[in-house]
Amino acid sequence: MDLYSEIILDHYKHPHNKGLLKKHTHRTKELNPLCGDSLEIDLEIDKKGKIKNIGISPKGCAISTASASIFSDYLIGKTLKQVEKIKNEDIIKMLNIEITPGRFKCATLPLMTIKKIFN
């Protein structure tokens, strides 16, 4: 069962950077209409333009929650310019599991959420 690796299950049960930030420069939210899941992300950008702090509030399945957790660790220290360049394939690679077509939207929800900043 490749999809539910120990790492994924651990991130699901104990997501990193959980909880929204009191002090944030950006707040963004996205829904997955297929299942009603949602993800909220807060960012605090420092004076150098880098992500200093991140807070996530995931309401969803193991895949989307673990993906949000793993992605949130990755985002710390990145500039928004770097964030803008991240592609779906990049986030799939970070998860290091086999994503079936039916679960693609779960895995990429964190990226969709963060990209809303640029709209």
Partner: protein, 407 residues
């Protein structure tokens, strides 16, 4: 009693194995598999007597027209309509409901009128009414759910007023399986001269439906949920009401006389079937009805109740499992459940590794999910080819979910 193993042999898809294991198909409320006789009927039409309907003077077209109209007669008889002229073929039940909302709704719903529907409606019997209400300045009133997963009849009675023009209600919930006592609801509506639409997408494939006995004005259902091809929906309407309604779509095959600047329209039901219809699939739909009749709706109902009761018994043994299901006596073969701490998408993904096809979503019933206080549910739904062994396999999948998530 019906023999599901014998029935399964009539469905070519069950010969298929995925990862060397047979398919356990428990998503029948979404769509059913097709028996060989239905598949053969489509092939037979295209290979042997296909031409456009209603126009040709030649043999082929006459044969096709006769088969197409024979399906209409069969459909009328199946739901005990007074006449085949009360049967309109659409693309699906959703389109049937939209046809009513645009044709009847645009004509007869006025500003300040009220439409009553229930909290358990599928989006297809909610969104068209939201849009009509928006167009007309009408209001939607909602029949709530009681703790026993049935609709609150007392509240319904109180919702009725002089402003109420329409009751539109599902006969069976696609999430809970609840069979609504629609006859009682319709009787109450008729006392107040309210037009009634019944969404029969879930009920017609499983329960005997008699539109004259029900006394509803409209009934909508879909072929693909009852062994027939996708792309065929049915709208039943009484001749009385259909005759008062303007066409929905305009164009070929629905006209009486056309001049350069104005036209008149033909009689029911054809005035509601603009353009070339889904000929071969409608013809094959007749075979699906005949197959169901051969098995018998009473046998189907009994079989599904046996499976539901077996599944409830199995799944309720697990303290981590929460069932959203009314008493078995008033439920169709649908069982929604959640597993504590496990998102339905994750559960369904693991069920899939055992080739057990279940649905995990809001089931196009978002307001009901809210009423239940959940984001989504897992859902098993049964039909004639399902066996107790299928449910045993679902239980094996459930155990696997609990093991992987260590719950």
């Amino acid at each position: 009693m019906l023999d599901p193993l014998k029935i399964k042999r009539d469905f070519p898809i069950f010969k298929r194995k995925i990862n060397k294991k047979p398919i356990v198909f428990l998503d029948n409320a979404a769509s059913t598999e097709k028996p060989k006789c239905v598949i053969d009927a489509i092939k037979d039409c295209y290979e042997n007597y296909y031409a456009n309907v209603h126009r040709g003077i030649y043999n082929l077209s006459e044969e096709t027209t006769s088969a197409y109209e024979s399906a209409r007669k069969k459909t009328a008889d199946f739901i005990n309509a007074k006449s085949e002229n009360e049967i309109i073929f659409t693309r699906n039940a959703t389109e049937a409901i939209n046809l009513i909302a645009y044709s009847w709704g645009n004509t007869f719903i006025k500003k300040g009128d009220e439409i009553i529907l229930s909290v358990m409606e599928h989006h297809s019997n909610l969104v068209p009414w939201q849009e009509l209400a928006k167009r007309k300045g009408a209001k939607i009133r909602v029949i709530p759910l009681k703790k026993d997963f049935t609709l609150d009849f007392e509240v319904y009675k109180k919702l009725i007023s002089k402003k109420t023009k329409l009751l539109t209600l599902t006969a069976m919930s696609n999430v809970l399986g609840t069979i609504n006592p629609i006859k009682k609801f319709i009787k109450e509506a008729k006392k107040h001269n309210i037009t009634v639409i019944i969404d029969g997408a879930q009920s017609v494939p499983h329960l005997k439906t008699d539109v004259q006995d029900l006394d509803c004005d409209f009934l909508a259902f879909s072929s693909h949920k009852m062994l027939g091809p996708s792309g065929v929906g049915v709208l039943y309407g009484t001749s009385k009401i259909l005759k008062k309604m303007p066409p929905f779509l305009y164009g070929g095959d629905m006209i009486k006389e056309v001049t350069q600047f104005k036209s008149t329209y033909t009689d029911i039901p054809w005035k509601f079937e603009a353009g070339t219809p889904n000929i071969a699939d409608v013809i094959a739909f007749q075979k699906a009805i005949e197959y169901i009749e051969k098995i018998g709706l009473k046998n189907i109902e009994d079989h599904e109740k046996t499976l539901l009761s077996y599944a409830k018994e199995k799944f309720s043994k697990y303290k981590q499992v929460h069932l959203y299901s009314p008493k078995t006596e008033i439920s169709g073969g649908i069982l929604s459940f959640n597993i504590k701490g496990i998102h339905p998408h994750d559960a369904a993904t693991i069920f899939n590794t055992e080739n057990v096809c279940i649905r995990a979503s809001q089931h196009c019933a978002s307001p009901l999910m809210k009423a239940l206080g959940v984001g989504s549910t897992n859902r098993m739904s049964f039909y004639i080819y399902n066996t107790k062994e299928d449910i045993d396999k679902a239980e094996i999948a459930l155990k696997k979910v609990l093991k992987i998530f260590k719950i």
